[in-house]
Amino acid sequence: MKFPPPLAQKIAFFVLFVMTLFVVLPVLFVMFLIVKNGIGAISWEFLTAMPKQGMRAGGILPAIVGTFYLVAGAILFALPLGLFAAIYLSEYSQDTWLNRAIRLAIINIAGVPSVVFGLFGFALFVSFFKFGASILSGSLTLGIMILPVIITSSREAIDAVPGAFREVSLSLGATKLQTIRHAVLPHALPGILTGTILGIGRAAGETAPILFTVAAFYLPRLPQSIFDQAMALPYHLYVLSTQVPNVDVKIRYGTAFVLLVIVLLMNLIAITIRSHFRSKKKW
């Protein structure tokens, strides 16, 4: 069957539009559902109190705080490591089989299922290094998981800095290290930050990597040290939804709502930083 071109044009446009709609609709629907059912649960008490009556009442403060600690720890570990690796790969590494293997490995890490990270973290940090189920183990595990995000986005940001900047700097008698420090990194910073924040968003929402390494089922107090177990929002949500009978739907959705807001907020900050710097840069 053949359509006349203008009609084919319209059909194609319509089909593409509907496909796009299919992509966006589920996301919007999920958000709508969570916001609609969750926003009612939000109160000062919900955000700042300990859970009570076996998590069927009270607040979710320890889960919020736990997620915050875990994410902060993951960044503390992954940002320097990832940034230095990115600098090495972009500015120093030659095209040898070893460096190609490293690059391939980084891409592959990004594709590893998160539950594998959880088991790996359990084996290495909890058992082998004997950190136990603790914020330390959980942070390190999450850190490893977001390393590829940070390395990849940092590399992209570093590679996007025009070669002319390096040339000028070197021609003025700067060392390679000075050139990276003064002529490359300042201009790559927005991209690096964006990647880091996206990493944070990812780390905040993951359940599997913290399942065996840190997450406490029910711990109605704030963690005292990095060797403490902690509650975390995604795992708490999982527990509320599947492990505890008779939990008010409102509390479940409220928890999901808080997690969603945190992750969206992170992404919003990332986008704002990026567009702010993008409007400034001219090359």
Partner: protein, 254 residues
């Protein structure tokens, strides 16, 4: 006899198998403007980049022969590359200020040579002197915190020269510094070059013969990696010795 700032001897340069410079031999007179002209791809930019060893950054470059600066071969193994590049600075084809403030651009050189001091007076005075030396102070004195990349191209190029003068070079290498500029801006840069000539040795690569004729004291004509002819600008343009030079300057080639 004039003092020479740079002297090349049997200079050959290869990009892999391709020979980009063939037995180039000439001298750059001190505190004069020397221009190198020739059609695209003749190796004139490559020659310029020999002098501050920026070619080192290109993979697969091999250089034979000598380039003497201050009585030393800069390709000798014990050359301090950082010192060399500090003394022999470069102005690039496209104005390339960093996308940071005018002031930050000026003090960039101070930072990398550990001359930066936190005193406001010192830095302000410093910015003033630097911008005055490139005839920009009057235009920019109230805009030091503005983004350098928002300036006109002429101002950007002058700022790049100021940024370079900060590290106190002796030789300025200019790689077609006006090719991104309009004729009026070009004239302004040329005016500045005459000013700079009093204190600096300048080597300029240009595809613009009129420019070479206007600004330089001595001119070399390059073709396919060879320095065909080198001599006083006036002579080269009015009475070229070589047929190939004549063809080029009369417009029969390129």
């Amino acid at each position: 006899m004039a003092e020479f700032a740079l002297t090349t001897k049997n200079l050959n340069l290869y990009y892999g198998r391709f020979q980009a410079l063939k037995d180039v031999q000439f001298s750059v007179a001190e505190k004069k403007i020397t221009s190198i002209i020739g059609p695209s791809g003749c190796g004139k930019s490559t020659l310029l980049r020999v002098f501050n060893r920026m070619n080192d950054l290109v993979e697969g470059v091999k250089i034979t022969g000598e380039v003497n600066f201050e009585n030393r071969n800069i390709y000798a193994p014990d050359t301090d590359l950082l010192k060399l590049r500090k003394k022999i600075g470069m102005v690039f084809q496209r104005p390339n200020p960093f996308p940071i403030s005018i002031f930050e651009n000026i003090v960039f050189g101070l930072k990398i040579h550990h001359l930066y001091r936190e005193s406001k007076e010192f830095l302000y005075k410093f910015a003033e002197e630097s911008l005055k030396s490139v005839l920009l102070w009057e235009d920019l004195k109230d805009k030091l915190n503005h983004l350098a990349t928002n300036l006109s191209l002429e101002q950007q190029q002058k700022l790049c020269i100021a940024r370079l003068l900060v590290v106190k070079p002796e030789v300025l290498l200019m790689d077609e510094p006006c090719s991104a500029l309009d004729p009026i801006s070009t004239a302004k840069i040329e005016e500045l070059m005459q000013e700079l000539k009093k204190n600096y040795t300048i080597v300029i690569v240009t595809h613009n013969m009129q420019q070479a004729g206007r600004v330089s004291d001595e001119t070399g004509y390059m073709l396919l990696g060879e320095l065909i002819e080198f001599g006083a600008t006036q002579t080269l343009f009015t009475a070229p010795r070589d047929k190939r030079t004549e063809d080029y300057i009369t417009g029969r080639l390129g």
